[in-house]
Subunit: 148 residues, 2 copies
């Protein structure tokens, strides 16, 4: 199954829609066909290469209720061949009306022969107060992030 | 003060050396001259634009002992105009011989008229056991990361 995404936005939309359907094949089709693709989850696991990334998302879909990702507060940098999207994500889990997050994702897309593809995704918990940088770096203290 | 970095590696090396010297001007000179530059700190703060990023690092240098960053376990994707480096960072703080981390950083560099520049940096705490993806995503649980 091969999709051709005309824009980075199309590829990103397909990625999040695939998450909402727990659709592993479509989700994987968004990634670039490249050994150096990297996916970093909010728990701090880094997966590199299609096999490891597929196994990771298969495990996520198998062990969690279905969930949708709501995307807000985008900062986008785009050129002819590359797009870097910094976004804020919130999660809606199964039938639970409450939202979980916020999380920050940096999604890097590249344009190749088969259109736009996801090259790198880095996700981590956002500070409770986005935009407050007064405690941006505290190596001596614990940094505790809770999704609730 | 303007440096011209011939490679993304040169720009990255200058960035970490500037951190080690608490050298704010050199650190800022590595960033691209672009409104959409983004820096995400391990605490979950996202800064966008040179002014906010400069203030943030100024605060980091002012409120912490000097520290060096050791870079390992790189996954690099590079093309003619863009480079995406996924790296593991450990910190050495002041005279403290112990190391802090690991942290994961995704550094995105672009090549422009003035050589290679940093466009986006996303840093977050790494899982204690890198490569273990068995708990890659647990939206119901707390995700606690400690730098010690």
């Amino acid at each position: 199954m091969t999709f051709v995404f005309a824009t980075a936005e199309d590829a990103e939309e397909a990625f999040y829609e695939a998450i909402g359907r727990s659709d592993l094949d479509t989700l994987m089709s968004v990634w670039a066909d490249d050994e150096e693709i990297v996916c970093i989850h909010p728990t701090g696991q880094r997966l590199s290469g299609a096999t490891a990334i597929r196994e990771s998302w298969q495990n996520i879909f198998a062990t969690n209720p279905s969930f949708n990702v709501r995307v807000t507060h985008q900062v986008r940098w785009e050129s002819v061949l590359i797009a870097v999207h910094s976004i804020v994500e919130t999660l809606c889990l199964g039938d639970d009306p409450s939202q979980h997050g916020p999380m920050l994702s940096t999604n890097v897309f590249i344009r190749g022969a088969n259109g736009w593809r996801l090259l790198s995704r880095h996700t981590s918990a956002a500070a409770d107060a986005l935009g407050d940088d007064t405690a941006a770096f505290e190596p001596h203290s614990s940094s505790r992030h809770t999704l609730h």
